[in-house]
Amino acid sequence: MSPDRSAHKSIIWLLAGSVLCIFVFFCIPAFVQSALSRRLPELIQNFIEKLYPRLIVEKHRFNSGFFIQKAQQIVFRTWLILFLSAFSGLFYTKNKLFSIQVKSFWNEPVSRNNHNLILFIFFSGLLFYTTTYWFDLPDLYRFSAFYQPVSFLRWLSVPFPAPFISRSLCIFLYVSCLCIILKQLPVFFASLAAILFILFQGWMNSFEKMEHTYTTLTYAALLMPFLANQENKPEGWALPLIRLSVGTSYFFAGIEKLSISGLDWFRADTLIFHLQQHPTDSGLWASHYPFLCTILQISVIFFEIGFVACVFFPSLRWIFLPMGVAFHTGTWVLMNIGHWSSPWVFVYLFFIRWDKVLEKTRIFFRRYF
């Protein structure tokens, strides 16, 4: 297809999508009222309740305005993604420099040393983070009456594992990680480790609450088999995709705050409220200083929205990676959320050129020792 034809197609799709989004946007209040009072056709009503199981709980807690705003957000975000896809598609076809940059981004040169070190560090970390599963899953088994499987566990009717099963699977996971660390069949064992890790994550998150502690680690685990497969290739796309998944996670977290709360989110009461909801000595101390809270909130948004830039511009990593460490440590110290060894910080390993670190360390030791 010629670039001009492709550009015209993008514009037509964007216009058609925009008109549809505007139409749906204005139909939402009536639709939401009908959904809340269960007046929609059963099929649609069931679909909504399957997609949003929390609706049954939240409709008792919030008024209809809350749900109308949420539904309008969905339409707006759909339009936003449509717009961004069409715009970037258009830019890609029209701007040669941009298309070259995109291609070189997805064909990053693979350094074998860096690649091996990343695999070694990631699977050592995975081993470290999953050791608690040995105890956690058998402990949770006693609460299996509360088990409500998420996504694929529900679709495949997977029950909560008995202690013997979960411990056997733990052994498989640990052996897989060790095999990759020892460079034995890395693609096979990276796939096995990813499947088991996601299975464990699914079980741990199947008690009506999704924990985001391991989200970026999960994204990386999903892509690790592809990264392991790129060892002997000159160029690779898995590493940029892992970085992009980490960057977009922060980006969406920042955009969520602004799109749901608007500029109100910057009011000091926001952080003060959360500090009081998750009390720690240092958090309660900070809550007495509204100006400090506002500064922290501005820094959080700057960090979350800006982090994705360091995916594309490596020199910015010197700013955003230390900020990320400070952000997660701050959340832990002020609100007791997370841990000193946050998996969110651990995945920064994908932003570091380990072969260069190793080389510089060697030079340092040779020079001074």
């Binding site: 975000r77 759909t78 993604i81 006693r142 996504s151 592809f226 969520e256």
Partner: protein, 122 residues
């Protein structure tokens, strides 16, 4: 790996990353990061407490850490309460305990009052 497969995996993965953001919902293993996004004024303050009375008629607050439950279960108590399943919640808590209590009580605490929601006596 051929170009088509590579492009398909990249496009699909990016779409799946965006999907929870668009639908405002977690679609495991892809997550929506809405924590702390709501304005504080619209969050109603309420808390739930479960009391367990043992065989010696000693009544104490059920502690999730002692019971080795993974998270603070207030969200679970809230969900069962709004689904009108509070008694079922207490029954399930009773089943999950090795040292069974004689009586279970669920209380809801709001800014204005404390209400006994459900009692379960096995």
């Amino acid at each position: 790996m051929n170009i088509f497969l590579k492009n398909t995996i990249i496009t699909l993965f990016i779409l799946l990353l965006c999907l929870p953001f668009v639908l405002l919902n977690d679609i495991f293993p892809f997550s929506r990061f809405g924590m702390f996004a709501e304005p504080v004024r619209i969050v109603p303050k309420e808390n739930f407490i479960v009391y367990a009375t043992d065989k010696n008629l000693k009544r104490k607050v059920w502690n999730y850490k002692e019971a080795a439950f993974a998270n603070d279960p207030t969200y679970l108590f809230r969900n069962y309460f709004y689904r009108n399943q509070s008694r079922l919640l207490l029954q399930r808590l009773h089943q999950s305990q090795s040292e069974s209590a004689k009586k279970w009580e669920l209380y809801r605490i709001t800014a204005s009052d404390t209400t006994l929601i459900a009692v379960y006596e096995p």
